[in-house]
Amino acid sequence: MRTIALRDALREALHEEMARDESVFVIGEDVIAHGGPYTVTQGIVDKWPDRIFETPIAEAGIVGLGVGAALAGMRPVVEIMYVDFITCAMDEVVNQAAKMRYMTGGQASVPIVIRLPCGPARLVAAQHSQIMESWFMHVPGLQVAAPSTPYDAKGLMKTAIRSPDPVAFFEYKALYVSEGGVPEEDYVIPFGKADIKREGEDATVVAIGGMVPRALEAGIALEDEGYDIEVVDPRTLAPLDMETICESVRRTGRAVVCEMDSSFAGTGAEIAAALAEQCFHDLRAPIVRVGSPHVPMPFAEELVNVTVPDAGDVSAAVRKVMA
């Protein structure tokens, strides 16, 4: 299998879906110039100049138009330059896109994909470094994807575009250039299907998005200490595949849940609570969560380093559940 970067995998998914279905179109800021800041939409303007829209700086308008176009049968792929700016369009996401099917008694379908580049990268501080997955998980009617590898990114993006309902698609900026194997032929990854990224027997480490490579790094480091961890990547947070996660925890008896975002009221809180409900009697130690402290992202590198959890934090959590 050839090896490509995550952003290239996403670009391929967009091109292939646009070729497959002419209702797919792209809309966002700077999406034509350079193909967006992350080059994901590069090349589209050359093939389909009428199906890519470079917009004014107007997120509420961008998402609002996307919702309307979706209601009228199109499949918009919206790029929000940084997830931080989706707050400018929260009404469109929460009140317009997410509830429409329910409020209309099933009449409406809003097949919109909202691409949300997220996470710390390049020291851009509090308004350009957030993750925010749990905000979207909490909204009924939204699906939330958070791929960690090029393979998952491409397969999940194709599913997202084909889905009849809205998807908040989280792309960790720090992973855009990370490489991995991606087949040339068409494939999709169903939502709600976790992936075991590393098999192990001693403890289950559930890792989300940007924490997956860090958990895998911890897995290697912990081998020296005699711990063999299993790393489970949920890949989508809504729907959330608790079945695979519980199955793993029943085998290992120990669970660590890792997210890059603040762990307070976060993604890991939901997973840990569900584990406590469903696997309480299989657990041989209290569940440990790994996440950042409940603070906005600071600027200085020294402060960012203590804020964002790394492989060392995952290892420390594993030692805690093994103790």
Partner: protein, 327 residues
């Protein structure tokens, strides 16, 4: 107040302070001492200095992602700003904000802003506070031409006009919104025309012409201070460097940039304007630049000598932990 020799020299000095501060920040970035990104104001200096020349210390200023100039012009100490870019504990925001969030509340500089149009609502709100407190403090909100597309621009101007708030909206129209030429994404050429929808005066001026900005800002600030309501000023300008660090600038030609730098540099233009009036001699000009270079070098030394933040600083400043409710 009309421009005189002394005030002009002070304003001129401030333009150099902005230019040389930022060029040093760019150099320090290439040396690895300044990290993160920078949105430089070089080329747009006349606007901040001409507007802030009309402001009192207690007037409010709110900025954008491109606010080094606004902060320096409103009196933020350069050494603490440089220390912020260096990520030092002595920085304006104790290394928590960086370039995009520089603020100095002791000078009523309520901060740069990483969200396009993010300052417009709050800047109208500081004006509302002046109204409620019956103070004659004026608020100035700077923003780029891109901000005029966003809801907060429209909602802010509506409130400002509806309640005749003491605020001046200053749009720095540099013709680009990141990598997109304004003409590709805007339906009116002049942002000043948008004032009509909110029944406030809209003035468009050449932002490279210091005197033009100074005069327009003077009228607007006085109008606001008298309680007659807001003004929207559009200053036509140009940024000399890329949008932020690492910009390949494929969306504009080298010739266009060179032309602006050569013929429309606000510092060169104002220097010539002063010299015509015999308000500035060549010696003085050199002395001003030399003096500013010393100030910039001092700010770097201050930053370099300053301590890094402590890891536990991450947890402070989220909320006021001293505060207790008294039952």
């Amino acid at each position: 107040m009309t421009l005189n020799a002394e005030l002009s020299r002070r304003i001129y000095t401030d333009m150099w302070r902005i230019r040389l501060f930022e060029e040093e920040a760019l150099r320090q970035t290439s040396l690895g001492s300044v990290k993160g990104t920078l949105h430089t104001y070089c080329g747009e200096e006349a606007i901040a200095v001409a507007v802030c020349a009309h402001l009192r210390d207690d007037d409010y200023v709110l900025g954008t992602h491109r606010s080094h100039g606004h902060c320096l012009a409103k009196g933020a100490p350069m050494d603490r700003m440089m220390a912020e870019l260096f990520g030092r504990a002595t920085g304006s925001c104790r290394a928590k904000g960086g370039s995009m969030h520089i603020a100095d509340f002791s000078r009523n500089i309520l901060g740069a802003n990483g969200i396009v149009a993010g300052g417009i609502g709050p800047g109208t709100g500081t004006a509302l506070a002046s109204r409620i407190r019956k103070s004659d403090q004026v608020s100035v909100v700077f923003f780029g031409d891109g901000a005029a597309a966003r809801g907060p621009f429209h909602e802010g101007l509506l409130f400002g006009s509806l309640w005749k708030l003491p605020v001046v909206y200053v749009c720095e129209n540099n013709g680009y919104q990141q990598w997109v030429p304004r003409k590709n994404v805007a339906v009116v050429d002049s942002v000043a025309d948008m004032a009509a929808s909110y029944a406030i005066p809209g003035v468009s001026v050449d932002g490279q012409d210091l005197e033009a900005v100074y005069d327009a800002a003077g009228v607007a600030v006085e109008r606001a201070r008298r309680g007659e309501g807001p003004t929207l000023i559009e200053a036509r300008t140009y940024r000399f460097y890329g949008h932020s660090l690492g910009d390949m600038e494929e969306y504009r030609s080298r010739e266009e940039v060179d032309d602006w730098r050569e013929n429309r540099d606000p510092i060169k233009l104002f220097s010539a304007w002063m010299k015509e009036r015999q308000w500035l001699g060549d010696d003085e000009d050199e002395a001003i630049q030399a003096e500013v270079k010393v100030e910039v070098a001092r700010s770097v030394a201050y930053a370099e000598e300053s301590p890094l933040p402590e890891p536990e600083d991450v947890l402070t400043d989220v909320l006021d932990t001293e505060w207790r409710v008294s039952a």
